[in-house]
Amino acid sequence: MSAITGNLGLATKQPEHKSDNYLTHGKGIKSWLFSLDHKRIGLMYMIGVLTAFFIGGVFAMLLRTKLLTPGLMYTHNEADEWNFYNHCFTLHGAFMVFMFIIPAIPAVLGNFVLPMMLGAKDVAFPRLNLGSLWCWIIGSIFFGWVLLGGILHAAFGPFANYWANALIPAGLDTGWTFYTPYSTAKAANGTVEALLGIFILGFSSILTGVNFIATIHMLRPKGMTWFRMPLFLWSLYATSIIQILATPVLAITGLLLLAERTLGVGIFDPALGGDPVMYQHFFWFYSHPAVYIMILPAMGVISEVITAHTRKHVFGYNFIAYSSIAIAMLSFLVWGHHLFVSGQSPLANAIFSILTFAIAVPSAIKVFNWVSTMWRGDIRFTTPMICALSFIILFTFGGLTGLFLGALSNDVHVTGTYFIVAHFHYVMVGSALFAFLAGLYHWWPKMFGKMTNKTVGNIAAILLLIGFNLTFFVQFIAGAKGLPRRYASYPPEFHKYMVTSTIGAYVMAVALFMMAGNLLAALINGKKAPANPWGANTLEWHTASPPPHDNFPVEPVAGDPYDMGSWVWDEATEQWVLDEDHARTVAGTEPTVHQH
């Protein structure tokens, strides 16, 4: 509502024609697909990554259902059954990692919120932003091709026709890690298409990173020094550094794999004179930092959500900000901990082990700071807050179980087992997914001007938390007892863990459908959202919900992003309103430091 911006005292009276917002600003499909508006691009990314999440989820359900029995579930002979399972876990991993978790928070929430948090009209390079979206779409089409090819092959293949065989890939069974020489010498022939897809998806990630860094440097408003930036921006900045520096390595590695697979150039395959362990170094040089591409923005979302819904200034701003940068830097130095049993020298192992432990410290700092933020707060159990609390629980557990894996002698026992599967799902799903959901629920009113149903959202969040722990906690035990991962069949002693895990996965599916249904229901009959439903003080809440095409009628001036005292609850209108007198006394509201 324009009344809020009026309260800022920056604009006098809002003209009435401002009911036009970014959703209604242009009409027709072209006004979306070729929009340069960061908000629309964010929404299109959202539709895309949620589709990828759905497909990845279908594969998760298929493979968990398979694991209800160690024997045959879908087919009549073992080779088909094991192959089907192998394709399922590969596509589950590939869709979830490359098309969902990596772009989810930066490309959806980051795109939507980052310029508004800066009080800017858009990102620094809006065309590049659109290019990034299209890289994502084209890269994903390659994966759609692999997926469709796999289905056609399962239904009608193998094909006798040369062109049919060349154009319809037989799916993908390399695992999302594409380890050589399996991926180059043995695997099903969708590998080439998938690698091309990853190559293009990588550009989407790189372009977003470039854009965010430039935007944060160039477009901060009056009053916003580096240390008055919202913490979400710090985390996106740190993420962007990783995206720019690490993703090219993945692109190069993918090209080398392609060269080996299609042209027979010997790089990784020992049969051609290559070294398969070198591939693991190349791959994890990207893919370990990529874990922080997934978790750093999630941490940023949690910082925003906790402070807003606790109505408290975030505790230890500087430590949280610095820890984001520390994590980004250290993330480049720990890749070797994926190779502890590969034959890497004990000295290298020791160095990677100690660096791995070093990165645990900034993560721990963040958790302590979030919990301390709640101290003396005024905690509201909204859906984003429930998701954020779930995040803290799951991230604590995911992070601490990392200690088992960082410790060399322990890692030898549990690496390559379900222990690893449980650990990284606690971090990537438990943490990153919960943060994404927290962010969606937190910013949904801003995106669409509609409030979500709190009761349904909270029940879904708690159900998801229960389902998640049911699914993955038992996997720690199965792994510690020695069950290797990626096993289509398993010894009978592990049956009870596998069944529990599958039941948990079904609970998660129900909870996620509830989550999604609740968001969609809000669009149809949700209560109209005010400009600032949570009383948060970052700049995106200083404009209408949904925002106008240009975000702000007048360029805002930034103060302390976590000064909750500047918003007071107005009983008459049942809204948060800006306390102008308070806002004026907040140091820095006057633009003393000019950063442009």
Partner: protein, 348 residues
């Protein structure tokens, strides 16, 4: 107490390094439990005490506290360094092979294990004497596998193109599963074997017998062939009940006409089987992929003869061609020392 607790989430401790690994595991588990309780208790207390309710006002509190924050930076740093130290020390124990170890070569291929003893004998199960340090040299014929014995807390990748080493010393007699812990394609989850730990005297006797299967009581070539079928990786891909696997079924195969992928047909005789075992990509049965690894150097001709003898027992076309007598010869019909091995093809 911890031992009993440990049996819930850990496999048996059957090697010299296992107790150390488990001690560290429990130590980290203690740290995990402590910090989880600390953090969760803080969350619960704050959530109850400072929940939004009528009349409750959020209080003022400092925006940061350098002392407190340094405390919760330095204490975790010290803890992780301690964990690193014990992890590294344990790892050195696993890495440094004691002198005078007994060396066994681990051969891995899609999707089976084979273990070669110093006298050249190759077996599908790993037999080791108790209380003797065993040095493993790991090799792979095709893709990366990972040799994993949970009961020994031992794991090492076998990487094609290089030799990896590992060692262990078993502390109790028994049988313990071996898993492949690195994804290696279709039958990854069936790439299983076991370690059989025996008293040294029993081990010596076993090795003596394993080196000379013909001297074992009840030896027949057919049974020896069946053992090879089950233990050297044939069973993972070739069924004997007629169902399709990664490779064609052996039921009724021997002596029958087989359509090859190049369009020709061939009779599955001794030469065909022998060539398919040693040069598996030369002649591919129609509808199958060229994925079988070569057994060149892995199976001796004598052993292939036994496999052929076994295949004959499960092939109706072969039995029929042998006439009404249908008798399957109980002794090996040929031997690699016989110059005219191809003479066997006359039998069809």
């Amino acid at each position: 107490m911890l031992k009993i607790l440990g049996s819930i989430y850990m496999p048996p401790e059957a090697s010299t390094v296992a107790p150390g690994v488990d001690w560290l595991f429990n130590f980290i588990l203690g740290i995990t439990a402590f910090f989880c309780l600390l953090i969760f208790a803080g969350m619960v207390v704050f959530c109850i005490k400072y929940r939004h309710r009528p009349g409750h006002q959020g209080g003022e509190s400092p925006g940061h506290s350098t002392g407190l924050e340094l405390t919760w930076t330095i204490i975790p740093l010290i803890i992780v360094l301690v964990v690193f130290f014990y992890g590294f020390r344990g790892f050195l124990d696993m890495s440094v092979v004691p002198p005078n170890s007994y060396e066994i070569i681990v051969q891995s291929k899609m999707w089976n294990w084979a273990f070669q003893y110093p006298n050249g004998t190759v077996t599908p199960e790993l037999h080791v004497p108790k209380g003797v340090p065993i040095r493993l040299v790991l090799t792979s014929d095709d893709v990366i596998h990972s040799f994993y014995v949970p009961a020994f807390r031992t794991q090492k990748m076998s990487v094609p193109g290089r030799y990896n080493r590992a060692w262990f010393q078993a502390t109790q007699v028994g049988e313990f599963p071996i898993y492949c812990a690195q994804y290696c394609g279709t039958s990854h989850s069936k790439m299983l074997s076991k370690v059989v730990v025996e008293e040294p005297t029993n081990f010596d006797r076993w090795l003596e017998e394993a080196s000379n299967p013909e001297k074992q009581t009840g030896f027949t070539p057919q049974k020896a062939g069946e053992d090879i079928y089950k233990s050297r990786g044939c069973i993972q891909c070739h069924s004997i009940d007629g169902s399709h696997g990664t490779g064609p079924t052996w039921k009724d195969m021997f002596g029958s006409k087989v359509a090859l992928s190049d369009g020709s047909t061939i009779v599955a005789d001794e030469n065909y089987v022998h060539d398919s075992v040693l040069y598996p990509t030369k002649q591919i049965v129609q509808g199958y992929q060229a994925v079988m690894p070569s057994y060149l150097g892995g199976l001796k001709d004598k052993q292939i003869d036994w496999v052929i003898a076994y295949m004959k027992t499960i092939s109706e076309p072969y039995k029929k061609s042998m006439g009404s007598s249908g008798a399957v010869p109980t002794s090996a019909p040929m031997h690699k020392d016989e110059p005219a091995r191809s003479a066997g093809s006359n039998l069809k």
